[in-house]
Symmetry: C2
Subunit: 314 residues, 2 copies
C-alpha cells in the first residue's frame, strides 16, 4: 500500500532528511582477525566518528539454548538475519537502532543498547555479506581469509584466554562448525570487494613475519597506488595481476611484513596523504596489541580508510 | 541521498511488496484498563490474527536505574520513543521487529523478542499517541480516560496484587507521577479517534455498575448504529451529541452497565453482525476476568473490532 508509505514519509520527511552513512563490512569466520582490523580503524578516526558493531549480537539463542540445537552459531537459522538486514538499512540511512546484545563472556542475550550511527559505520561479523539485501547496505565489503591453520591457532589462543574455554573444547567446536563454515561463511568471500589474507612467512634469518595478500577486486574503484609501487618500494609492497580461485582477474597487492620498517612506513604515509588528511598516520593503525605492530595490517587498514572517506565525499 | 534509498528499495522490492497492517492504538495512563480492553480483542480474533504489544517495553532504564533519576517512567526521556516510532512504522508496513522487553515482575530490561505482525496489531501503552509520527502509524486511536479516583483504585489493586508493591508505595508513586501524567500522558486524549470512559454508577437497588461513555470523534467513519439506537434499546445504549472538554462537537455513546443482560447482548449481536462475521460473539468479548463480564466493555471492544476489520478491507 504505497499510500501508507507516503504518509509515513511525509510525516518524517524521510527522503529529504535521510543522509547516507558510509558503511564498511568486515566478514570472516570466527577468529579471522575482524576485531583487530576494526579496532585500528575505530581508534584512528575516533569512536565519535566511527561506529562499529558486531553481527554476533544478532544470535537468536544464548549459549545454553544452542547446546540443545542441531546447528551452531554459524547457521543462518541461529541468527536474526532479517533483523540484521533491517538494522543495516536503518544505519545506512542515518537512523538509530536498538541493537540486541550478545555477551561473549557469559554466553547470554542481554538488554539491547541504542546505537546511533556517526559519520561512518563498520559492521564486522559472520554474516554481513550473507544476503543480497545486507550487501546492498555497504559501500565497501571485506572478507578476511587467513589460511585455515592460522585461523585455528588464533581461535584457540583467543577462546582459551578470553572466553573461558579449554583447548579441547575449542578444537571440538572448530570441527563441529566446519560444515557450516563451508556452507554459510566462506561463500561470502565471493561477494567482497576486498579479500585480505594474512599469512605467516619465514624470513632468511629463521624468524617469522606476517605478510598480507590484499585482493582488490574491480567491483569498486581502488586508490591509485602508482607512486608506492616503484622498484624502490618493491621490498615492502608489490602489485600483481592474478586469477582468483574462481578464475576471475584480480589485482593482488602483496605486503611484506619483513620489509624494512622505514620503507613500509613511507608507503603508509603516501597512502595516508592520498586521503587528504594533514596529520601523521595515527599510532593505532597497524597495532595488533599494545606495543605489537604489523605493517601489512597498517596498509590494509589504510586502504579501507581510503574507501570509507571516499564514500563520504563522493 | 535518495540514490541509496532507491537501491535498498529495489533490492527488497519494498514498495510493491509491503502490505498495510491495520493498527489500533490504545493509549492511557497506568492502570486505565488498557490490558483488559486489549486482551478481549486478542482472544476474540485469536493471537494468530492479532499481535499485541505494550509500549512499556520501550523503557530506557530499568527499575533500579529509575530510582536515581529525577523523572518517572511517564517522562518521554525515560523511554526510547524514537525507536518506538521506528518499530510502529515497520509493523504497519508488515515488517518484523526485534522488540525490547521490560519485565514488570522484576523491573528489568530483558533480552528482546521477535515480533512479526499478523493480520492486525494492537499497541497499548503510555505513549502510542505522543508524537505525530507514531499517530500516523495507526488506523484507529483510542484513549482510555477513567475518572482519576477510579484509576487510582484500579492501580492500587493491580500493583499490590500483581507487581509486589505495598499500597503506600503505589500511592506515593501516583503522586510522584502526577505532574508527568498531566504533562505527557493526558494530552494524548486530544489525538484519539475514540475516548472511552468507564465510570461506576449506583443502581436503584444500591448496587454498583460500571457504565461507559464512548466518545466517537468525527476524525474517522464510525459504524452505523442506527438499528441499535431505537427507543427499545435505550435502556442499554444511547447516543448524544455533546461538546467535548475543548468545545468540539462529538458523539457520545452511553452504554449502561445496569441494563438487562439480554438487551445488551442483542445490541452486541447487531454490532457483531455488522462486521459480516457469521458466528456468535466470542465469549472473550466483555470479559473483565474469568467469570466477570461487563456489557459496556463488550460494546467498546466491538466498536474497536469494527474499526480494525474495516481498516483491513478498505
Amino acid at each position: 500500500m504505497p499510500h501508507r508509505l507516503t504518509l509515513l514519509e511525509r510525516v518524517r520527511g524521510e527522503v529529504s532528511r535521510s543522509r547516507h552513512v558510509p558503511m564498511l563490512a568486515i566478514a570472516g569466520d570466527s577468529a579471522s582477525g575482524k576485531t583487530t582490523l576494526t579496532r585500528g580503524l575505530v581508534e584512528a578516526l575516533g569512536s565519535d566518528q566511527i561506529t562499529s558493531m558486531c553481527t554476533d549480537d544478532y544470535h537468536r539463542y544464548d549459549r545454553s539454548e544452542r547446546k540443545e540445537l542441531p546447528f551452531t552459531a554459524l547457521h543462518p537459522e541461529c541468527n536474526y538475519l532479517e533483523i540484521m538486514e533491517q538494522h543495516l538499512q536503518l544505519l545506512t540511512l542515518g537512523q538509530p537502532i536498538l541493537k540486541p546484545v550478545y555477551s561473549h563472556s557469559h554466553g547470554t542475550l542481554d538488554r539491547p543498547t541504542l546505537l546511533t550511527p556517526s559519520d561512518f559505520v563498520i559492521v564486522e561479523g559472520l554474516f554481513p555479506l550473507y544476503s543480497k539485501l545486507s550487501r546492498a547496505c555497504f559501500d565497501v565489503t571485506v572478507f578476511l581469509d587467513p589460511p585455515e591453520e592460522v585461523r585455528r591457532t588464533w581461535k584457540i589462543k583467543r577462546d582459551t584466554t578470553q572466553r573461558g574455554y579449554t583447548k579441547e573444547q575449542v578444537v571440538q567446536d572448530l570441527d563441529r562448525r566446519e560444515p557450516e563454515s563451508q556452507a554459510y561463511i566462506r561463500p561470502q568471500r565471493t561477494h567482497a570487494d576486498i579479500v585480505i589474507r594474512f599469512k605467516p612467512a619465514s624470513n632468511e634469518d629463521g624468524s617469522q613475519t606476517m605478510n598480507a595478500e590484499i585482493l582488490l577486486r574491480p567491483t569498486i574503484a581502488h586508490p591509485d597506488l602508482t607512486d608506492v609501487l616503484g622498484s624502490d618500494t618493491r621490498e615492502a609492497i608489490h602489485l600483481k595481476l592474478i586469477r582468483d580461485d574462481d578464475g576471475k582477474p584480480v589485482d593482488a597487492l602483496h605486503v611484506h611484513g619483513g620489509a624494512r620498517s622505514e620503507l613500509s612506513k613511507s608507503v603508509e604515509e603516501v597512502i595516508w596523504h592520498h586521503l587528504g588528511l594533514d596529520q601523521p598516520v595515527p599510532a593505532a593503525i597497524g597495532q595488533i596489541s599494545p606495543g605489537v605492530r604489523s605493517e601489512p595490517l597498517a596498509i590494509a587498514q589504510l586502504v579501507l580508510l581510503y574507501h570509507l572517506i571516499t564514500a563520504a565525499t563522493s
